[in-house]
């Protein structure tokens, strides 16, 4: 480990020199960033983000080989079980050189020492300015930046215009009451529909309601975090959201274990008129069912008394695993992916918002109505989960997910929230 750190420091210095001279003499004997001849770099890319990922990957590989001479091995990883896989890979030293890491996991992995602080490399490459603030913040721990912002997304309501119009409810809801009216009208219109699936496995569909009622997941005072998920506001939001399923018949029992992909599958079969989903999903629908894609319409998730509730600003950072043998080459890949053509292309293909401000403005200006709705949700309501190493554990323990599914399964909201809060406090105090 000590030797590894030494090479890293040399690597950072090497990159700075390379920016000027484009040749590296003393960078840990690797011969410099553009000389990756005969080397192979492994890159873990999360699955499902880009519907046309195959073509993108092929071109990325070619571009990377052209730029550095090294071979790029891209391995696509499913989101489900990804956290465990990252933890295990870091523990086993079997991780990739570079990986796409979800924002909420970065502080945990950084704290464990599994990924590198990239601030010096980012600074040296002149990329420090013009990064999307929310993403930088999510990747920050103790003053270090442990990932290079790549892309961000936010969840809003996506709907099937035809089904909504058939029931006569195709307006942006201005409050919870409006949303409830929409749902009940849809259910009355066709009792076989699942008007608004309450997916038990998707915590980020539930959080906008916690936040929309003025609640928080946890609050920070100085260095210490305290769970707030059992506060009256948060419980009010949770109650309202879960009641959609429990009292208003908006969902189906099967949805208690549904992930967002299951809601999407039902939406694709046109039994679901609307659901909460991410800004990246319209592109997937376009690829799966172009006919349905024509009928899409988006709404911001309403708060209790306003049209835009805070919604989780999620996304991914490009991170470098500490175990990599090729830190400079790895950073080359990070640059290639997060800046320039590949960054814009990724944003266009995925409906995600890029991680640099310049590209973000461009995408929003040129986007369609749906993109604008998601952009509104992000700029007016983009919100982060507690930025602490403990968060990864809370997510790994599925604390909030368990809370939601137990409520959907009949536990009283306050009890479930108290249990979750107790567990979260346990993680915070470790």
């Amino acid at each position: 480990m000590i030797a590894r750190r030494h090479v890293l420091a040399a690597g950072a210095a090497g990159s700075a020199a390379l920016a000027l001279a484009a040749c590296g003499g003393d960078s840990g004997g690797s011969g410099g960033e553009v000389d990756g001849e005969g080397k192979t770099l492994t890159f873990w890319l999360m699955e499902g983000t880009n519907a046309s990922a195959d073509a993108y990957i092929e071109e990325l590989k070619t571009a990377f080989t052209e730029a550095t001479g090294a071979t790029l091995d891209v391995q696509v990883q499913p989101w489900d079980g990804a956290h465990d896989k990252f933890v295990t890979a870091m523990a086993g030293g079997t991780g990739p050189d570079v990986a796409e890491v979800g924002t909420t996991w970065v502080p945990e992995f950084a704290d464990a020492g599994g990924i590198d602080d990239l601030s010096e490399d980012i600074e040296a490459a002149g990329l420090a300015d013009g990064l999307v603030e929310g993403l930088v913040e999510a990747g920050s721990l103790d003053g270090g930046t442990y990932g290079m912002p790549w892309y961000a997304g936010v969840r809003s309501i996506l709907a099937n215009r035809e089904m909504l119009e058939a029931a006569g409810v195709a307006e942006q809801p201005q409050s919870w009451d409006d949303l409830l009216t929409m749902i009940t009208t849809l259910k009355e219109h066709d009792p076989d529909w699942i008007p608004f699936p309450v997916a038990g496995g998707s915590i980020f569909s539930a959080m906008p309601f916690v936040w929309g009622a003025g609640g928080e997941i946890a609050t920070q005072e100085g260095e210490t975090w305290t769970a707030a998920i059992n506060s009256p506001e948060a419980v009010e939001g949770l109650t309202w959201y879960t009641d959609l399923a429990l009292k208003h018949d908006a969902s189906t029992s099967a949805a208690t274990t549904w992930l967002e992909t299951d809601s999407l599958a039902a939406f694709l079969q046109e039994t679901v008129p609307m659901f909460i989903t991410g800004s990246w999903v319209p592109a997937t629908i376009e690829a799966e069912n172009p006919e349905l894609a024509e009928k899409l319409v988006a709404f911001t998730i309403p708060a209790k008394d306003s049209a835009v509730a805070p919604s989780f600003l999620g996304g991914s950072l490009m991170c470098r695993f500490t175990e990599t043998a090729e830190p400079e080459l790895a950073f080359e890949l990070i640059k290639l992916v997060t800046t320039g053509d590949f960054a814009t292309r990724w944003a266009e293909e995925t409906n995600y918002f890029p991680g640099t401000t310049a590209a973000l403005d461009e995408v929003v200006a040129g986007g369609d109505e749906i993109t604008k709705v998601f952009a509104t949700q992000m700029t007016e309501g983009g919100k982060s989960v507690p930025v602490t190493p403990a968060w990864g554990k809370i997510e790994g323990a599925k604390t909030l997910g368990t809370m939601i599914s137990s409520v959907l399964d009949g536990t009283a909201v306050q009890d479930a929230a108290d249990t979750a809060a107790e567990e979260m406090d346990g993680f915070f105090s470790e």
């Binding site: 480990m1 079980g81 956290h83 465990d84 933890v87 295990t88 870091m90 523990a91 704290d111 464990a112 020492g113 599994g114 699942i194 038990g200 496995g201 189906t252 029992s253 099967a254 208690t256 274990t257 500490t322 554990k393 790994g396 323990a397 599925k398 997910g401 368990t402 599914s405 137990s406 959907l408 399964d409």
Partner: protein, 324 residues
């Protein structure tokens, strides 16, 4: 197989005298060393892959060993803190332990009952039908636990599985109206079905092989005494087959306590539905999802201890029955 077993039974009578016959001194020495040479590879493998890791897991269970420590390569001994934490956790007593022990007991009892009934039934059949049925239950045995689990998950799929569709068709229940995987009892009912289905063939085949060795005269004698089928089973079959029954019970207990895949692969079984966790899944998720290797080891040690207690009891019983 009915002919093979009886002539195995007279090993001791034939072997012992031969052993004592004059053997040249050189050979005797080599024969003293020979078993250990033959055993050496096996002992090394078992030692390195099973015994040494057990020592290591004990050592880890005394540490607050997290991903951090692993990556830094340091250790962090905390004495018995992990044990105190686990043993005072209501989650262990209310959820995990009942799930593990209760589930295992139910599974062993059901597996033994179903297996024995099937064996008794097969024993009444003619050769042709018996081998057809044996082949069929071999299929049930052979289906890997992993795929078997997915089959049962699919059968009980809340939206379009066979069971809900059938109930829907009968007008008893609406498709999508209930999710059996989120409720602790129905979750374990499905898991029990899966484990018993997978486990009974071993019992049936083994018991059947044993049944064919029971001399008919014993039954005839009992029948002459006026014993009915039920009495004959308890007074003739069970005592004669005691060693076989003991082995069956030991093995199924061991298997059913260690059940992991069948739980882990069910929806919510990987730790997301907390109330269906058993010791194995808890240990695994603590370690590999939370990066808390110390705590995971502690739970693993407890599980192992539980199994050891049970198996020592059984081995004692077995050793009384027959010299190993």
């Amino acid at each position: 197989m009915s002919t093979a077993a009886p002539d195995l039974r007279d090993r001791q009578d034939g072997a012992a005298p031969l052993e004592r016959r004059a053997v040249p001194p050189g050979r005797r020495l080599r024969r003293g060393l020979a078993p250990w040479l033959l055993l050496a590879p096996a002992l090394i493998v078992l030692g390195v892959l099973l015994l040494w890791p057990m020592v290591r897991v004990l050592n880890l269970s005394l540490q607050d060993y997290e991903l951090k420590n692993l990556l830094r390569g340091d250790s962090n001994y905390v004495g018995l803190d992990n044990y105190v934490q686990v043993l005072t956790d209501p989650f262990l007593w209310q959820i995990v332990l009942p799930n593990t022990v209760g589930f295992a007991i139910v599974c062993v009892v059901l597996t033994m009952a179903v297996g024995t009934v099937v064996a008794l039934f097969l024993n009444t059949l003619g050769t042709a039908w018996r081998s057809i049925c044996t082949t069929a239950i071999m299929v049930a045995w052979a289906v890997p636990a992993l795929t078997g689990t997915y089959i049962f998950v699919w059968l009980f799929d809340p939206q379009s599985g066979l069971v809900i569709s059938a109930l829907d068709g009968l007008g008893l229940m609406e498709a999508g109206s209930v999710n059996w995987f989120t409720n602790r009892w129905s979750f374990y009912a499905i898991a029990t079905l899966n484990v018993v289905y997978h486990g009974f063939p071993f019992i049936a085949v083994t018991m059947l092989a044993g049944l064919t060795t029971v001399p008919d005269e014993l039954y005839e004698a009992a029948a002459l005494d006026g014993a009915g089928a039920w009495t004959r089973f308890w007074q003739v079959t069970v005592p004669t087959l005691r060693p076989i029954i003991a082995v069956c019970v030991i093995l199924s207990t061991i298997w059913d306590f260690k059940v992991f895949v069948q739980i882990f692969l069910m929806p919510g079984g990987d730790g997301s539905t907390r109330e269906v966790m058993n010791l194995g899944v808890w240990s695994y998720t603590q370690s590999f999802a939370q990066g808390e290797y110390g705590m995971g080891s502690t739970i693993a040690v407890l599980l192992t201890a539980l199994l050891m207690v049970i198996s020592v009891v059984y081995i004692r019983t077995l050793m009384k029955e027959e010299e190993l």
